[in-house]
């Protein structure tokens, strides 16, 4: 039984479970090359069923073993203290109780201890993610209220028709009070003095509906609320997957280019999974191939990104951060950001999904009221920052700026041209120059007129960027060079069979019209093509 299955447990049950988990044995066999028991400890993470992603997590742990301070070393090593059973809590709750009572562990930790600590911490955090960040969304059941649900449905129908005046009395009657309550809650949370509440609440009363209508740049409030309703009705494995299912390729363009998915944290994930993806376009291409049309990939990849961040922090040689509270803050920060970005994209690019989510149904009032409350709470943060409510036209969700464009997959014609051009590169003895350039963007040797001509003159137009640059080509080669060479295996077999005497005729028959054909083949041409195959090692192709 793991915590993610059981939910909250009494201390004794959690302690027994923790003892049975035995991360030390798992670490010891992991060091001997058997990842089975260690993999089992990752069960709570969404990436656990994927052997490749799981292996990356364990590899990261082996590369950077945790370095817990003595005060926290006992969190996941040895026997935890015996505490009274008390209330049922999740693993994190018990860990925090244990952390407060742990004696410092003496003596340096061995590698197996450090790995065991990391496996134990990953097991606990993964179970907590499954329990709180996925399971809790599915456990939440709204209370049906036919009258209120019907009123909410009517209101939504009017918003979606653009009948704002028609929606307004329903909104005011049913949702103004929940909004006030949440707004006041935010003021209380920030310890705004009570006498200050009323003027702000009056301002909210007057402005709230106009936020809903919007009219300036960015999404109007009613769409933001509808997106929250959609999110709350998550029926998928988790809210991230649920959002991802609503996204169309054009919307992914913004997701893949937005700072959340191109920043340091996701960058570290991409660097580990696809080390050859050196430029921003190559990184975007990786994510594009992972995510578009595969909405169930966002949860595993987000979880792995978070696990890698945790492992990096635990293993920091100078200032390791190993407290379970810090771990959980990191989990929430990343998951909330990713969820927020995806929600914004659903709002922007999937209006039909929002309309479907607000159709009549049991619990619609409760979902809507909660979404309005969150909206009002967020609006209160404007008061706390600026001492007045934002203007009515100011959208709550910032647009996703600076998105890189999606890369169209190469057409069959372009792929044929590319593979022919690769042959030409090899025949011109510039295979290493190409590999170096695709990985780094720089030239292997300078000056190199031959390589310059291959890029500028021999490369078919279809393989160049719109501005005649080469970023698209580099991204393709960085990720897929091995695949392209492997795909030419039948041609290589024909060339071998033809031998030096029949080489030219075989090449001419296979040559692409967009690629300049070499007039003469040098005596070493076949050897160069053989070397091309031999020199192409896996480059982390997706």
């Amino acid at each position: 039984m793991i915590a993610s299955e059981a939910g909250a447990l009494p201390f004794s049950a959690w302690r027994a479970h923790r003892q049975a988990r035995d991360p030390l044995s798992a670490a010891q066999v992991l060091l001997r090359g058997d990842a089975g028991p260690a993999s089992a400890l990752l069960a709570g993470w969404a990436f656990a069923p994927d052997a490749t992603l799981r292996a990356h997590a364990l590899r990261a742990l082996l590369d950077t073993p945790p370095n817990p301070p003595p005060a926290l070393a006992g969190l996941h090593l040895g026997e935890p203290p015996l505490l009274p059973d008390g209330p049922h809590r999740s693993g994190r709750g018990h860990l925090l109780s244990v952390a407060a009572q742990l004696p410092p562990r003496e003596g340096a930790l061995g590698l197996d201890d450090r790995l065991a600590w990391g496996l134990g911490a990953l097991a606990e955090t993964g179970a907590e993610v499954a329990l709180r960040e996925r399971g809790a969304w599915l456990r939440r059941a709204p209370t049906p209220d036919p009258t209120a649900d019907g009123a909410a449905a009517q209101m939504w129908a009017r918003f979606f028709k653009g009948d704002f005046w028609g929606a307004r009395p329903l909104f005011t009657k049913h949702f103004q009070s929940p909004a006030r309550k949440a707004f006041r809650g935010a003021l209380l949370a920030a310890r705004v003095p009570l006498p200050e509440h009323e003027p702000y609440l009056k301002e909210l009363d007057e402005t709230l509906f106009w936020y809903m209508v919007g009219g300036g740049e960015g999404a109007p409030g009613w769409q933001e609320v509808a997106a929250r309703v959609y999110e709350s009705r998550s029926a998928a494995a988790g809210p991230l997957d649920h959002h991802a299912q609503a996204l169309i390729p054009e919307t992914w363009e913004k997701a893949i280019g937005c700072p959340e998915l191109t920043g340091r944290s996701w960058g570290a994930l991409i660097a580990r999974l696809w080390p050859a993806a050196s430029g921003p376009l190559a990184r975007a291409l990786c994510l594009q191939r992972q995510l578009i049309g595969k909405p169930d990939r966002i949860e595993p990849l987000t979880d792995l990104m978070i696990a890698l961040r945790l492992i990096a922090r635990w293993g920091d040689a100078e200032a390791p951060r190993c407290h379970p509270d810090e771990d959980w803050s990191l989990v929430l920060r990343h998951r909330n950001r990713t969820r927020g970005r995806l929600r914004a994209l659903v709002m922007e690019g999937a209006p039909e999904v929002l309309a479907a989510a607000t159709q009549p149904g049991p619990g619609l009032y409760e979902y809507t009221a909660r979404a309005v409350r969150i909206y009002a709470w967020c609006r209160a943060t404007g008061v706390l920052r600026r001492h007045h409510l934002p203007a009515w036209e100011e959208s709550l969700t910032p647009p996703c700026d600076g998105a890189e464009g999606l890369l169209d997959e190469l057409s069959a014609e372009a792929v044929a041209a590319l593979r022919c051009w690769l042959l030409l590169v090899a025949l011109r003895d510039r295979w290493e120059a190409l590999r170096h350039w695709s990985a780094t963007g720089s030239w292997l040797h300078k000056p190199d007129a031959q390589w310059g001509r291959l890029l500028q003159e021999a490369l078919p137009r279809v393989l160049k960027d719109r501005d005649l640059g080469y970023e698209r080509l580099r991204a393709e080669l960085a990720l897929g060079l091995t695949g392209h060479v492997n795909a030419m295996a039948p041609l290589f077999a024909q060339l071998e069979a033809a031998g030096p005497a029949g080489l030219k005729a075989t090449l001419v028959a296979a040559w692409h019209p967009e690629v300049p054909r070499p007039e003469r083949l040098s005596p070493g041409a076949l050897d160069r093509l053989r070397a091309m195959r031999a020199a192409t090692h896996p480059l982390g192709e997706s």
Binding site: A8, G86, P87, H88, R89, S90, G93, L131, R132, E133, G135, A136, W137, R139, R140, F164, W165, G166, R168, P169, T172, K173, Q176, S177, P178, R180, K181, A182, R184, G185, A186, L188, A189, A190, R191, P199, K202, E203, D205, E206, T207, F209, W210, V213, G215, L332, N336, R370, R373, I374, W377, A391, W392
Partner: protein, 188 residues
């Protein structure tokens, strides 16, 4: 867990996992439970009372008003503003003018007694055929707003009602868009 999370829990804005955590903590700790109870009382909100909620200045759902400062002294904000209504405004509608300081309640400025009732058709008209009126700001009140409401002729003001009930029906008409309205900010 902290005070802010308890507030968020009572306001029901936490995502489900966080809400579960707080619920478990409250079940385990009477002090937390008591704090949540206290917050519930502080956050109680009665159903919304009728109120004036005209569209904010320049809102597309509001009446299209023109505002022309009159007689401004050099470097000073004019306190007299000529407010024009759209030329197509319903001439039979009754004109209701509200005023409020930046942080305060709307007050009916016009009409405050039956003899002050004016229809749009009784207003002077400018060269563009737009009815207009002039309003005068109170600089001592700081930033302030006016709101103009065109009450449907079919919904006359019931002067027999006490003042706090007199405007309830018109407030509802504004709320539903049946009485066109708009507001202006001063300084503009």
């Amino acid at each position: 867990m902290n005070h802010a999370q308890y507030c968020a829990y009572v306001a029901d804005v936490l995502h489900p996992g966080r809400a579960e955590e707080v619920a478990e903590a409250a079940a385990a700790d009477p002090l937390i439970w008591a704090e949540l109870q206290s917050l519930r009382e502080q956050m109680y909100e009665p159903p919304p009372a009728p109120a004036w909620r005209p569209p904010p200045p320049r809102h597309p759902l509001g009446l299209r008003l023109g505002a022309q400062p009159m007689g401004a002294m050099s470097g000073a904000e004019a306190t007299r503003v000529r407010v024009s209504l759209p030329a197509e405004a319903d001439r039979s509608a009754l004109l209701v003018l509200l005023w409020r300081p930046e942080r305060g309640d709307w007050q009916v400025q016009l009409p405050t007694r039956p003899t002050q009732v004016r229809r749009v058709g009784q207003l002077p008209v400018n060269a563009d055929g737009q009815p207009f009126l002039e309003v005068i700001a109170r600089p001592e009140a700081g930033p302030q707003r006016w709101a103009l409401i065109l009450a449907p002729a079919a919904q006359p003001i019931d002067w027999s009602l006490p003042e706090d009930a007199r405007w309830t029906a018109l407030m509802a008409a504004v709320e539903a868009g049946a009485a066109p309205s708009a507001s202006l900010a001063w300084p503009g």
